[in-house]
């Protein structure tokens, strides 16, 4: 009996193997090798993936499970504002909400991070000093990514210099769709280096990659290049985060850990507006990759309006009745 593996083996990440940077050095040595590797990953059957996500969407999460899920979801929110009209005042008000989302109830957990443009990272850093809430900044010519490598790297260094400890970069979708995988890989490697100690989230913009096969390949590419998180979307393109695309990315981080021992996080972003949506994502995490990913260090929800719905549902569980939108703060 050589082949019956303990199903916990893969999930626990205990399979012996080389660490990151060694296992797959070979596949990134040339464009051809990287292409062969990415195209050799098992395909994703669209119908099957969507059916699986839909089935998990029917899970009924009630009472104590719902309370746990709401608090967990709040602690995973990257509270985001990415508007041309953003001001220091707006960012400070968001930071206040991030550290204490429900002013009437101190038991509500703080969110994971505030996500802003790089020039406002300093404002956020100052407002969040000593709170444990992270400052995430989008960079690399977000959202399109259409700028030269030098500009993108300068963008990253600027954001880190302003105090961001998490960088949300976008990949060059044009290069990816044209099949220039090594170019995309090298850019992520360069950005990772420019991040220094800051965590790197790599936005795939799956709405522009379109197929699930591409989402899986782009996830692997980003992980090979050193991503700490893979993120679905900028939020500027529709469709943004969907359950099936999140499923495919979760499968990728699961398989990547089994192969390398390194655990990469996942961040769906854009389009998650309701508590129901958020809980569906948590169910997806729970039943695809398990409890190891059910923490803000490994799973984030990029959203702006979601937080208020989570708070309203939280109040409903506590008091037994729904309050109106005036019982949560406007952003």
């Amino acid at each position: 009996m050589t082949h019956v593996l303990d199903p916990g083996t893969l999930a626990a990440g205990t399979r012996p193997g080389p660490g990151p940077g060694t296992a797959f050095d070979d596949v990134t040595r040339s464009d051809a090798a990287l292409r062969a590797f990415l195209h050799g990953l098992p395909g994703v059957d669209q119908v099957g993936a969507e059916q699986r996500a839909a089935t998990l969407g029917t899970r009924s999460i009630k009472t104590t499970a719902k309370a746990w899920a709401i608090d967990t979801a709040i602690s995973m929110v990257d509270l985001t504002t990415l508007e041309g009209a953003d001001t220091p005042g707006k960012v400070r008000s968001l930071a206040a909400k991030a550290r204490r989302p429900d002013p009437t109830d101190p038991t509500a957990p703080a969110v994971a991070a505030v996500c802003v443009y790089g020039d406002l990272a300093g404002v956020a850093r100052e407002a969040l000093a000593g709170t444990g809430v992270h400052v995430a900044a989008v960079a690399t010519a977000f959202p399109s990514g259409r700028a030269s490598r030098e500009v993108k790297l300068a963008d990253v260094r600027d954001a880190v210099g302003n105090g961001a400890d998490e960088i949300d970069m976008v990949i060059d979708r044009g290069a990816f769709l044209a099949g220039r995988y090594l170019e995309v890989f090298e850019e992520v490697v360069a950005v990772k280096e420019a991040c220094g100690g800051a965590h790197l989230k790599v936005i795939l913009e799956t709405g522009e990659l379109v197929t699930y096969d591409n989402a899986r390949r782009a996830s692997w590419l980003a992980m090979l290049a050193g991503a700490d998180f893979v993120k679905t979307s900028t939020g500027k393109i529709s469709p943004a985060a969907t359950l099936p695309v999140c499923l495919v990315m979760l499968e990728a981080v699961r398989d990547f850990r089994a192969a390398t021992g390194r655990q990469v996080g996942v961040k769906p972003a854009g389009g998650i507006r309701t508590t129901k949506d958020a809980i569906k994502h948590l169910v997806l995490v729970n039943e695809t990759v398990g409890a190891d990913w059910l923490s803000p260090d490994r799973f984030r929800l990029g959203a702006s309006s979601l937080l208020n719905d989570l708070l309203l549902q939280r109040q409903k569980l506590r008091t037994g009745h729904y309050s109106g939108p005036d019982h949560v703060s406007v952003d």
Partner: protein
């Protein structure tokens, strides 16, 4: 945060929507009447609680039902304008949808299947079968089965316990759409949704005698099949009983269709979409606790991906939620009866004794009721009984192959031929392999998908005749060939 684990709280569907009477009679000529024989108890297999007592139809009861069906055929249903027959079927379909939750809860109570399946599969598909056939009622001349196809008359139908309402729909809808009347015998362990369907017939004002439901066990079924005034016999169930029915109707004028057992091969090639293939394997064998005649009970996996697929499969099986069928988060429910549980246990023990390796996930099973954990046998040889006999439970046998030819040879090496699955990203391979498989239904990159427009039926000892689609109509029409 109190715990790092996401534990789902119980989410039971309320059973208050169903109103189970302490006892039921037979549904004959549009009314519930007392049976002239014994009664039998029907239990909830998840708790062993007695749900109700139902009549055991005797030969005299069956005779009464057949005479009612004949009368209805001659006087009402046969002469009726086909479009009007269609109206009744549409009405039944709508009522099934309106009362869907009631049917789903009752089905899960009586059968043990998870409410998620009865709610999302059994009941919607049953309604879909009535809608589909309602549309055919006035278009039979255009079905390619001859210019003026005629019904046989009285159809005697015997159905199994694995999909009580859905199998009723598969039998009753085409029979009524084609102008036949029906005497139906539901399974001994799962009569309740058929009796609720009888109430739906009353609610729909279906003319008396068009549908008659006679509950009971094997002897009642035999009386239906052997009644001299039955023109058409349709049976779904075990190959053993199917054989005796074939013997009983041989030499009579009765027309027969049989949908019997299966031992489907689910073939996974090395270029398959592995994550979805694993989902398909799980759906293939653990859907409805494996109580599915077309279940993918033999996994044929290419040797080069065997370890990867099995590891992935075991991890996935570890997440299946086994337990209370009425909990909305349950994936695998109760085994339908003590008798079936004994058979599953026996075959599993034989599997181990023959040298296959049994794997089961850690799972807590309830103390009462009939339960068997999801089970995978690896190192199975085609000579093992668990690779040949239909287990009809949540038990998967894993075999391997090296080449496409070997896959086809092993898949066809069965006395059955009901269904098969092919998993590969290569479209040309799907077509080439499907062409060579001796199976009535072949799924590609999916499994256990059903639709009323698609004919279903088997080769070899899986039976003959088709249900669903145009071909399914032919079984209920005189001289129709497809």
């Amino acid at each position: 945060m109190t715990s790092p684990l996401f534990e789902y709280a119980p989410a039971p569907e309320s059973r208050s929507i169903v109103d189970v009477a302490p006892s039921y009679g037979l549904f004959v000529d549009g009314e519930f009447v007392d049976g002239s024989g014994d009664t039998l108890k029907t239990v909830n297999p998840a708790t062993e609680e007695v749900l109700s007592e139902v009549a055991v139809g005797t030969e005299a009861d069956v005779d009464r039902a057949v005479r009612a069906a004949r009368r209805a055929f001659t006087r009402v249903w046969g002469p009726m304008r086909p479009a009007d027959r269609g109206k009744y079927l549409f009405r039944i379909a709508r009522i099934l949808q309106e009362r869907a939750r009631e049917f789903a809860v009752l089905e899960s109570l009586d059968n043990g299947k998870p409410i998620r399946e009865s709610r999302d599969v059994d009941v919607p598909l049953a309604a879909a079968h009535f809608f589909h056939h309602a549309g055919w009622a006035d278009k039979l001349g255009y079905a390619g089965l001859g210019p003026d196809p005629r019904p046989h008359g009285v159809a005697g139908q015997v159905i199994p316990w694995n999909f009580p309402l859905l199998m009723l729909a598969w039998k009753v809808a085409p029979a009524l759409a084609t102008g036949n009347t029906v005497v139906l015998k539901p399974a001994e362990t799962t009569p309740l949704t058929a009796l609720l369907f009888a109430q739906v017939c009353q609610q729909a004002d279906l003319p008396p005698g068009v549908v008659n439901i006679v509950t009971g066990a094997g002897e009642t079924g035999r009386a239906v099949v052997e009644h001299a005034d039955v023109d058409k016999v349709a049976f779904t169930g075990s190959t053993e009983v199917g054989r005796s029915i074939a013997r009983a109707v041989a030499g009579t004028r009765k027309v027969l269709t049989l949908e019997l057992g299966g031992k489907a091969a689910n073939i996974v090639f090395d270029d398959a979409p592995i994550d979805q293939a694993v989902e398909g394997i799980v759906r293939g064998i653990f859907f409805n606790q494996g109580h599915v005649c077309c279940a993918g009970s033999r996994l044929l996996v290419q040797e080069s991906v065997h370890d990867e697929v099995i590891a992935s499969l075991q991890r996935r099986i570890g997440t299946l939620r086994v337990g209370d069928p009425l909990d909305k988060n349950t994936d695998v429910g109760a085994i339908n009866s003590a008798e079936q549980l004994a058979r599953i246990r026996e075959l599993s023990e034989i599997g181990e004794a023959e040298g296959a390796h049994r794997w089961q996930p850690a799972c807590d099973l309830p103390d009462r009721g009939f339960w068997f954990p999801p089970t995978v046998f690896t190192d199975v040889s085609p000579a093992h009984r668990i690779a040949r006999d239909e287990v009809f439970g949540p038990v998967l046998s894993v075999l391997t192959f090296r080449t496409p030819d070997e896959a086809v040879a092993k898949a066809d090496n069965s006395t059955y031929g009901l269904s098969a699955g092919i998993w590969t990203e290569k479209g040309s391979r799907i077509l080439a392999i499907a062409d060579r498989l001796r199976a009535g239904v072949v799924w590609a990159n999916t499994f256990n998908q059903f639709d009323p427009t698609s004919p279903f039926g088997g080769y070899k000892q899986s039976g003959y005749g088709r249900e669903g689609g145009r071909q399914g109509l032919a079984a209920y029409l005189k001289g129709a060939s497809h």
